[in-house]
């Protein structure tokens, strides 16, 4: 079996930044596995500008931003396999086969491509960087026929920007997420008539800049608290019926608006793509749909890290790169620590493993209870999101192992004006920061310092919430 120190699953912005950072932190044997025929992931179809203001202090388009990282990957001679589909990740069991990393745990990554067929890589660590997918029509409960002409906004984006096909001429868009807004402008520029953008919620999930520059610039109406109640047409979309909804999202009778159109785009949210993580046994956070990670961005399986949109959906790629660089660094630390301090002498561990057929000692067990016990030994403080804060990433920190500063990112559940973001440790308030406005569309962050947690009781938890004063 082929051996590597680090396998990165996904060659988009997260995977590339993680790989670059891991190499810069001393890891030699890295492989990126990418499903598409090019690196860059979703950035390849995001041809609009506005990327890179934080990372490069200039405004780039998606393909240009991807190219910057692709050049770094090439300069650092990091290996990548394109058109390669990872089919399984599992914790390694055959310790005897592990010559590269004697006596320590390993992870097996199974993949398939045209060059090698089916193959497996035995690796010390894995970084999950698979990104996310769009919520499909099937998950939206839209009544009506199933004709041609219904696309997710990202699919239309790929058809137009990468393949050069125009999916329709008269368009209604459901959902005012950023991709939907961007596509309203793109389709207008390419000659289509975008009749309306409907949003179920009373506010848009997109950035203000996009509402102004993609809709208002082109006089495209944004209908808040509206949804699709009917799709007409059997072979091809012929029309869409929108209706106003009440505060519970129920359509109100008598508010229907009919549109003659041939295309419906859906921009109704993104879902982290975690099928591989689930099969591997990684614990997921219910709200984000991404892995639950600690302050080292390590999942519930030691040696398995996560970053980018597979972890939680980001609004700026700059934050993805920043997070992924950290994941690369922490994965490098993990690999180096395992090299320097093998669980016990390699040969002995092998003998032991051979004798009793078990893994080396101090292996965190797959069994939930033992895992929890191991965590308590290291004092992992859980972060509890409350009162408007929907989730946090990371969801726990270790006062001992944490860096001097840890950025905790989160989203809120509604639109709030003039609120304070407060962080508590037990009853003690650590942070209290005012925000003029908080919206679900914008990711928020607080910075937790190591110095906050010098004396912690093991059962204490960190609480992040929104307060009026």
């Amino acid at each position: 079996m082929r051996k590597a120190e680090l396998v990165i699953i996904g060659g988009g912005p997260a995977g590339m930044a993680a790989a670059v950072s891991a190499r810069q932190n001393g890891i030699e044997n890295i492989v990126i596995l990418e499903r598409d025929h090019v690196l860059g992931g979703i950035l390849n179809q995001c041809i609009h500008n506005g990327f890179g203001l934080h990372t490069f202090q200039e405004e780039l388009t998606g393909p240009e931003y991807a190219d910057r990282y692709e050049q770094k990957v090439k300069e650092l001679e990091i290996e990548y396999q394109l058109e390669t589909m990872v089919t399984d990740i599992s914790e390694g069991t055959d310790q005897k086969a592990s010559d590269l990393l004697p006596g320590v745990r390993c992870i097996h990554v199974s993949a398939v491509n045209r060059t090698y067929g089916f193959f497996q890589i035995e690796t010390k660590a894995v970084i999950l960087a698979m990104g996310c997918r769009e919520r499909p029509r099937g998950a939206l409960n839209i009544p009506g026929y199933r004709p041609a002409g219904i696309y997710s906004a990202g699919t239309a984006q790929r058809l137009i920007n990468v393949m050069g096909y125009m999916p329709g001429k008269r368009v209604v868009i459901l959902g005012s997420g950023d991709i939907g807004l961007i596509m309203a402008r793109r389709m207008t520029l390419e000659g289509a008539k975008v009749l309306a953008v409907a949003e179920l919620m009373p506010y848009s999930g997109g950035l203000k800049r996009n509402i102004v520059q993609c809709l208002e610039d082109y006089d495209i109406p944004l209908l808040l608290s509206h949804t699709v109640v009917n799709i007409r047409g059997k072979e091809r979309v012929e029309g869409i019926t929108l209706a106003k909804v009440d505060e519970k999202g129920r359509p109100l009778p008598g508010t229907q608006i009919e549109y003659e159109c041939d295309t419906l785009l859906l921009s109704c949210g993104l879902l982290p793509e975690n099928e591989l993580s689930k099969t591997a046994g990684v614990a997921l956070q219910q709200i984000t749909g991404g892995p639950a990670v600690n302050d080292r961005l390590e999942t519930s399986i030691p040696g398995m890290f996560a970053c980018g949109n597979v972890l939680h959906v980001h609004d700026l790629v700059d934050y993805v790169s920043e997070e992924a660089s950290l994941a690369g660094k922490y994965a490098a630390c993990y690999i180096q620590k395992a090299k320097e301090e093998p669980v016990e002498d390699g040969t002995k561990a092998k003998e032991r493993a051979a004798e009793d057929g078990t893994e080396a000692k101090e292996e965190p067990a797959k069994d939930g209870t033992e895992l929890e016990a191991a965590v308590t030994d290291d004092t992992e403080l859980q972060i509890q999101p409350e009162n408007g804060v929907r989730y946090t990433v990371p969801c726990s920190i270790s006062p001992d192992k944490m860096a001097d500063q840890v950025v905790v990112r989160f989203r809120v559940g509604g639109v709030y004006q003039d609120r304070y973001i407060s962080v508590y440790l037990g009853e003690q308030r650590l942070l209290h920061a005012k925000r003029r406005i908080l919206t679900p569309g914008k990711m928020e962050q607080v910075i937790l310092k190591k110095s906050f947690f010098q004396s912690v009781k093991p059962d204490e938890a960190i609480r992040i919430d929104l307060e009026e004063e």
């Binding site: 390849n44 041809i47 609009h48 500008n49 405004e59 780039l60 388009t61 998606g62 393909p63 240009e64 190219d67 137009i160 920007n161 990468v162 393949m163 050069g164 520029l189 390419e190 950035l207 203000k208 800049r209 509402i211 102004v212 520059q213 208002e216 610039d217 003029r436 406005i437 919206t439 569309g441 914008k442």
Partner: protein, 131 residues
């Protein structure tokens, strides 16, 4: 920006309604104009709002991004952008020129594919490479 509003007090001839894009607050802005120049910005809650409003009523510009057809390449189209902001009013003319343009592969990132688009003095550059 205060110096730009020294016309304050002149008779207001026109009012423009805008939404600020400085932050998610999205303040509704009202700009009062006299002879085409802004004399007063209202509704903003910070300095950014005023700056945005003045730029937006005097010379609104946008970086335009689109695609250009490619022949002999590994793909059918290549992504492009204007190398500088183009006046909002010129966007339809720019799109006409972009649609009329076809280039031959290979294209390198940064290659200028259209010079001085629609007379705006901005060029159109490739934002990705294609063999």
């Amino acid at each position: 920006m205060a110096e730009q509003l020294e016309n304050h007090g002149k008779s207001v001839e026109e009012k423009r309604e805008l939404t600020c894009i400085g932050c998610p607050l999205g303040c509704p802005l009202t700009v009062e104009l006299s002879g085409g120049t802004p004399v007063r910005v209202m509704g903003n809650t910070c300095k950014k709002g005023e700056e945005y409003a003045i730029k937006e009523v005097t010379n609104p510009e946008r970086i335009l991004t689109s695609i250009v057809r490619v022949t002999g390449g590994s793909g059918a189209v290549i992504s492009v952008k204007t190398t500088a902001g183009v006046p909002k009013g010129c966007i339809p003319q720019c799109m006409k020129e972009i649609h009329a343009c076809t280039v031959k592969a290979p294209v390198r990132i940064g290659d200028i594919l259209i010079k001085n688009i629609a007379g705006t003095s901005a060029d159109v550059a490739a934002t990705r490479a294609m063999e």
